[in-house]
């Protein structure tokens, strides 16, 4: 019962060239159903219950079901029964996501700072010689030589709690780091015009609620989920996700990486409020 394959023709005002490229294929279709079609199942059952003297009026057994909403971000399997829940979920967890490491940050500014401090090699170099760590409080403007100094500042001056979630220094995590080998950054610099994200830009939402990670920094991702996804993808289980690999040119330099990487071409405009990732050149241009 899927629609057939012609582009709409008569309504379009687009020039010919564009029209043939448009990936839309809906055409009205007459649908014929044979007697054993699954669409007919419920009606047939009702009929036979009647024949077998088991009919009851359906008024007392309402069976409505309402369509669910689901997060689009690939790999996030969150599902909602109300639109507001979806909105809240998306805004909380997917708006400011670092493409490189899939971490979700609560605001654009913190995302910027995260990207700079964690994924910008230039930052690392400069930080050896100058004060680069910005105060997290907007408008403060102070910069510090190390993240510890900044943390002290936040606690002393701005009265932040010592265990503030969004200011943890980048640690050398064993298993996680090995998933993303260091020369990834180099690869990204070579491909200047696209943001290559290794994993899918997403947050493992359903695992989220189970354990907030202690000692991790400005993110809300859980590694078990990432590991699980990697395993699944590597096993080629998720055909839908692996299709993503083929849809754009894949410059994965590591064969062991998860199979579901996206690349987001720079021609797509994202604006401030959405998912961004590390773009090697961008960091440079500043």
């Amino acid at each position: 019962m899927k629609p057939g394959g012609k582009c709409p023709t008569e309504d379009s005002e687009e020039p010919e060239r564009r029209q043939t490229e448009a990936p839309f294929s809906f055409t009205p279709q007459l649908v014929r159903l044979h007697k054993d079609h699954e669409l007919f199942e419920d009606g047939d059952i009702h009929r036979h219950m009647y024949l077998q003297d088991l009919y009851i009026s359906q008024e007392d057994e309402p069976t409505t079901s309402v369509s669910e909403f689901a997060c689009h971000i690939s790999g996030c399997s969150a599902v909602f029964s109300a639109l507001e829940e979806y909105e809240h979920h998306y805004n909380s967890l997917h708006r400011h996501v670092c493409c490189s490491c899939r971490r979700s940050l609560p605001s654009a500014r913190l995302l910027d700072i995260h990207i700079q401090e964690w994924h910008d090699s230039l930052f690392t170099v400069l930080a050896q010689r100058q004060d680069m760590y910005q105060c997290l409080v907007e408008g403060c403007g102070h910069k510090f030589r190390t993240s510890d100094h900044r943390k002290e500042h936040l606690i002393r001056i701005h009265k932040y709690p010592p265990d503030f979630r969004f200011d943890k220094p980048k640690k050398d995590r064993g298993t996680r780091e090995t998933k993303r080998p260091p020369h990834k950054d180099i690869a990204m610099e070579e491909v200047g015009d696209v943001c290559e994200s290794e994993g899918v830009c997403e947050v493992m939402c359903d695992v989220l609620s189970e354990q907030p990670e202690p000692g991790e920094s400005m993110e809300t991702v859980v590694e078990e989920a990432a590991a699980h996804l990697t395993k699944a993808a590597a096993a080629g289980e998720d055909a839908g996700l692996s299709a993503a690999v083929h849809s754009k040119e894949c410059l994965n330099t590591e064969t062991l990486k998860p199979q579901y990487s996206y690349r987001v071409p720079s021609t797509v405009c994202f604006g401030r409020g959405s998912i961004r990732g590390f773009r090697g050149q961008r960091g440079r241009r500043k």
Binding site: L30, R47, D53, Q58, I73
Partner: protein, 505 residues
Amino acid sequence: MWRLNRVRHKAGRQGGSSEEARLKRREHEKALRQARRDRQLVSKRLLLNEDEEQPEVTMDTMSGEQDVVSLLYKLQHSGPERETHLRALSNTLRGPSAQLSFIKQENSMHLLVSLLTGSNAQCRLHAVRCLHELSHSPHTNVAPACLPATPYLLTYLSGQSTKFTELCLYTLGNLFPDSDIVKEKLLAQGIIPALANCLENQRHNLSVVEAVGFTLSQLLQAKDAAEKIIPQVLASSLPTQLLSVLTPDQNFGLAPAIECAWCLHYLACSEDNRELLARGALLQCSSLLLSLGDAVAEGKKEEGMELLVCPVLRCVGNLLSLCPVDSLSTQVGDVRLAAAVCVLLQAYPHTQPALARESAWVLNNLTAASSDFCSALLSLNLVPGLIQLLPFSQGINTMVLRVLANIAHKKKEFCVQLAQLGLVSTLCATLKMADQEMVTLSLEVLFMLVLSTQQVADEFVRLGGVSLLEAIQYNSEGEMRRRAAYLLEHHLLTHSSDLTVDNVP
């Protein structure tokens, strides 16, 4: 509608243990679903005795089997008490093990047939009742044992006694699905012409009409019906007869129309339903649907009405799919049919989602081919009601969205009207649904609307559509990503003020 009345009493009596009853029903329903998946969904009907209100639960014990043996003995050797013994036998034969015991006895069927064809009318009646009980057996080896009686049952179909004819019919209808041998024999013995004659002669006797309908429906559901049965049925007078009794009788109730409608549905599903079109089936079914829709709209929703609505909807749906477009107006007649189908669609999404889904399917077939129906939906102000159905799942919303897409596809003016009715903001919600087909269809509809007028694009952007489409670009489905990307690039981003320097390479 005598059957439904009886069932209501039964259900009412079991009101005390309603939770138990509900559980049992659910179990039963599950079994039926599995049977359908295995293509083995078969039902039998038991015509109750006049004094019975519900089938008595017979104690299925050893005594039943012994009773059979002793009764048979008595029947062979008695004179005037035969009637009594026969009656007792028919009661005993309600038990499955008694049924098995009966067919094991030598000459038992031979005896029964002689009583069936004898000169005593009461004995004939009781004998056919015995056969009827046997036909209702859950054991499939009972039916072949009844074969000696079938030629006579068929002959009696042209008789005049209502009760007797009914019993013959239901017996035949029960026997038919049980084995291939029985099917073969009955077809060879001319069951189809016999049914046609019976229906023709007894058209005004609605109990008999109901019984013929049931029996025919048993034939038409057979696995190989398409090759062996349907061509013969289509060639006979049966389709015309069925169509003529389709309108329910006020006094008698829906039951005969229900049976005939199901027969027509099985016929309309076949490859060969042009024959049906030629006999005016689409016109007849459409006008029936129109009157059913009117009745529902006026609040006169009769109990069991959905049992009739369902097969009629299906007939219309399938006949539409083969109807040549240019003859659509003569075949279907009134565009108000669209309104009737919408009424049905909106009457059932809570209680019978399947019926709502099937109504939406019919609307799809109406709007796919015909611009007249599309414009009727708009001019009769039916679209807002359709839009309100888009939250409902189980296939209802995908079909409804398909209908809206059909309308949008016809003309730009229709797109404009759809946009004015608030479709754009609804699409912002449907684009977030879990159902992939909904999202893809929403993108298609959005594309058509956007092409029609600038205002749609503006409105969509105003409603936050750009970030919605951006999110879709992270979806795992390539089909969705491509469409969303195209819309962003070619139609929406020229409006967006979000273009930043960062993105320029």
